[in-house]
């Protein structure tokens, strides 16, 4: 009697593979949607078979077969899976399993695909603003600090600190209940700090430890600078006028090094500053103003002449 090879049960191997590599790490709690390919070397249609996914906690979910029957073989082999990263930081492993089964007249072996993802804490980031500029040495001043969870978590009540370059804490506060207007989830507060006793650029850092938040967050730190100056000794009044007509120019930006102000409707700005020599510049779009050197040893006034520069017509893009 001849052996009929066709009557022997044939076992096909099967494979599950990711269409694209899985990310090595993801924030806790995020959902990863991926496409996988389930196939057998003989090209059997496995699209009608369910898959079992065993999650990191041991829970098993079933991915039902795709309902659409009108698919090309390439398409039919693809499945979408959705994995939810647990809220614990650390390595998590999922296992996707195609159970052994018979289909298309052949036995198919079981196969599994492990997927390993490291869950990391949510990132946080910081902002510092409304820093007075400049600050007089030795004085106390306030600024605003804010923290944002990358996942938009509510951070109100958490502590935020400001330290100097050496790490010494200079001031702290607790984030307020509502996010800063215009932001989606930047929780903020005002912090009062002492200015150092010497002039210069003072570098500090705002630090957010991100402790005591239910869902794990990574702390963060961000540098910022504050210009520290000597106490003022005299007052400088700057008047900005249009050169030919003498019309006062409002809203011109006046700067002398670390000091600045904007002119009022009478074209005047006042700046209090210590004795010394300063480069005065004035800026307003549509005007050309000469810079001047100003020596301060008394209360003085200066006038700056601004020449109107006709706005460049954007079509006349000529340069000589």
């Amino acid at each position: 009697m001849t052996k009929d090879a066709a009557a022997q049960p044939i076992t096909h191997s099967t494979t599950i593979e990711l269409c694209e590599p899985a990310p090595a790490e993801l924030p806790v709690g995020s959902t990863l949607v991926m496409q996988i390919r389930v196939s057998c070397p003989a090209g059997c249609d496995l699209s009608g078979l369910p898959l079992m996914v065993t999650g990191p906690g041991g829970e098993v979910t079933t991915i039902e077969p795709r309902s659409n029957q009108e698919l090309a073989p390439q398409e039919a082999a693809l499945r979408d899976i959705s994995l939810k990263v647990p809220p614990q930081v650390g390595e998590h492993v999922w296992s996707i399993r195609l159970p052994a089964h018979e289909s298309a007249g052949a036995q198919h072996a079981e196969c599994t695909l492990p997927i390993s993802i490291r869950a990391k804490p949510h990132a946080t980031s910081l902002a510092v603003w409304a820093i007075p500029s400049p600050v007089v040495m030795g004085e106390r001043f306030s600024l605003k600090v804010g923290a944002k969870s990358a996942a938009g978590y509510e951070l109100s009540g958490r502590r935020i600190q400001v330290s100097d370059q050496s790490g010494r804490v200079l001031g702290q506060g607790h984030l307020q209940a509502a996010p800063w207007p215009g932001t989606s989830a930047l929780y903020w507060t005002e912090v009062e700090l002492p200015a150092p006793d010497r002039e210069g650029m003072f570098w500090c850092a705002v630090n957010f430890a991100a402790a005591d938040i239910e869902t794990p967050h990574e702390g963060s730190s961000s540098k910022f600078s504050v210009a520290i100056v000597r106490p003022p000794e005299h007052k400088l009044t700057i008047e900005v006028l249009e050169k030919d007509t003498k019309v006062p120019i409002e809203d011109a930006q006046v700067r002398l090094g670390a000091y600045g102000a904007a002119t009022d409707p009478s074209g005047r700005a006042e700046v209090a500053l210590p004795n010394g020599s300063y480069e005065l510049t004035v800026w307003k779009v549509g005007y050309d103003t000469p810079g001047l050197t100003v020596d301060i040893h008394d209360d003085i006034s200066v006038q700056v002449e601004a020449v109107i520069v006709p706005p460049e017509n954007p079509d006349a893009a000529w340069l000589m």
């Binding site: 980031s125 510092v128 804010g146 944002k148 932001t183 930047l186 650029m201 963060s220 540098k223 079509d315």
Partner: protein, 559 residues
Amino acid sequence: MGKNANIRGPAKGAQSVSRRAFLSKGAAGAGAAALVSAGSREASAQIASAPVKWDLSADVVIIGAGVSGLAAAITARDSGASVISVEENFDIGGRGMLSGGRVHLGGGHALQQKAGIKDSADQVFKDWVRFDSAVARYSDRDLVRVFADENVATFDFLVENGVEFIEKPIGPEAASTVPRTFVTVEWQNQDEIYAPGGDRNGSGLVRRLEQSARRKGVQILLRHEMKSIVREQTFAGKIKGITVAHPGGTLAIEARKGVIIATGGHTGNVNFRRTFDPRLTEEYQQACLPYVFQGAKGELAAMELGASLWATANQTSESGAAITKTRHIGCRWGYSSLVFQPESKLFPLAKATGLTVSDWQNMIFVNQNGQRFWNEVDGSYRFFAAAMGYHGDTAKLNGGGPIWAIFDADAAAREKWDPKPPHVDPDGYFASADTIAELAPRIKNPHQTKPISGAVLQETVNRYNAFVAAGTDSDFKKPTPLYKIEKPPFYAAWATPILHDTLTGLRSNTNGEVIDIRGQVIPGLYCSGETQGGFAQHGLARCLVFGRVAGRNAAKGAA
């Protein structure tokens, strides 16, 4: 004049899409035609050495119904020729449709006289060959002489053909020593313009010329793209006609006397523009998209017959509007005077108006690495050089990559911006976030090949803020940097330099006949407008003048 007798009718199946029929549909679908031809199609000039079967025939065939092409068409008709114009776009006008309508013609025409301005053809010539003007000294002075001599006649031609002008003279501009710029009146029918609400008075020029052309019997075939120019032999003999592709198929159009190339420049063709400047890689957008694509198709078709380029120094003299600063940040095509408002038919393609910058103090610019590279207030070619400089991307050595404006809530308030759609395009040209560190990875665009590091961007902003606090920009000497970038939320907007003028093109003689690389006329081939090299004056005037010159000479059939 005015008779169509010499134009033989279209073969069965050929489609001639009338403007009215098109405009009654939305522009969104068909507008894609302008973009589709942008990347994928090559202007291959397949030279037929075997006789071509002609579907249509006319004395003069003009490729392009923009400013120069329309002027050529009318002039050829006025000279007694039958004319077929083919236009690849879904509507006429080219860049002129979106221009400000500033026509720089002088020589002592009627409006100048009315304003008491003394001018002459000789003065126009003298001004435009000035050695001390970089927009004049690299010109072919034979062409400048033609330009000068034709100024008054061209102005009169416009008025005769129904173009209306605002009588206020502007200037002197550029090399001119006398006011010569007059602005056309914008086209009154809002349904027939593409950039409403933006002083785009050029619509008044092109629509009037179109009206006159049609009235005079020019046949304008829209959505007909030239595929090749047919010559007796590749490098010898007369021009016979052109082949075109259109939505229904292809056509061969015989030109009994001449073909005029008025296809409008090369700025959108990356391969071609890099001939003059290898820095101009893909990330640099072409102004006037999504309406007009400047694909160098006319140049390429002529060069495949041996045509020469001419006066290429104009393209890289760094003195005109070849490269411009993006005035409207946060959108793809933020060219200085052109803004697409939501009412524009092209808005579904343009996608955003952009945020118009009043004061460059209100932002910093960072390159694709998240670092500042130059004084933001500078709008000169030194700024462009820095923007297009090599910033360390080992995978792409040429070009400078995307440039991003970074600013905060206070800057948006000072500029009176509303940094949300429809003012910005968040799909590749704008991002916002609560903090700088969060903003960096949100900056995404096909040309932003690696994300900007949050730490690097924070460092850039911190450093800049320290300069502001001290009153001096130690890195790039921005004049008195005024405003810190501090107050949340924070924004990043596309601010990559955008390309505009084509300032070089095909060589031609004073009749507008195209000259080949051996200095010989290609009989029956003419060029005008941005396709033509030799005179780099920015704007409409040279396109109008040389369009008329080409039209007149093609109608004579000088070859």
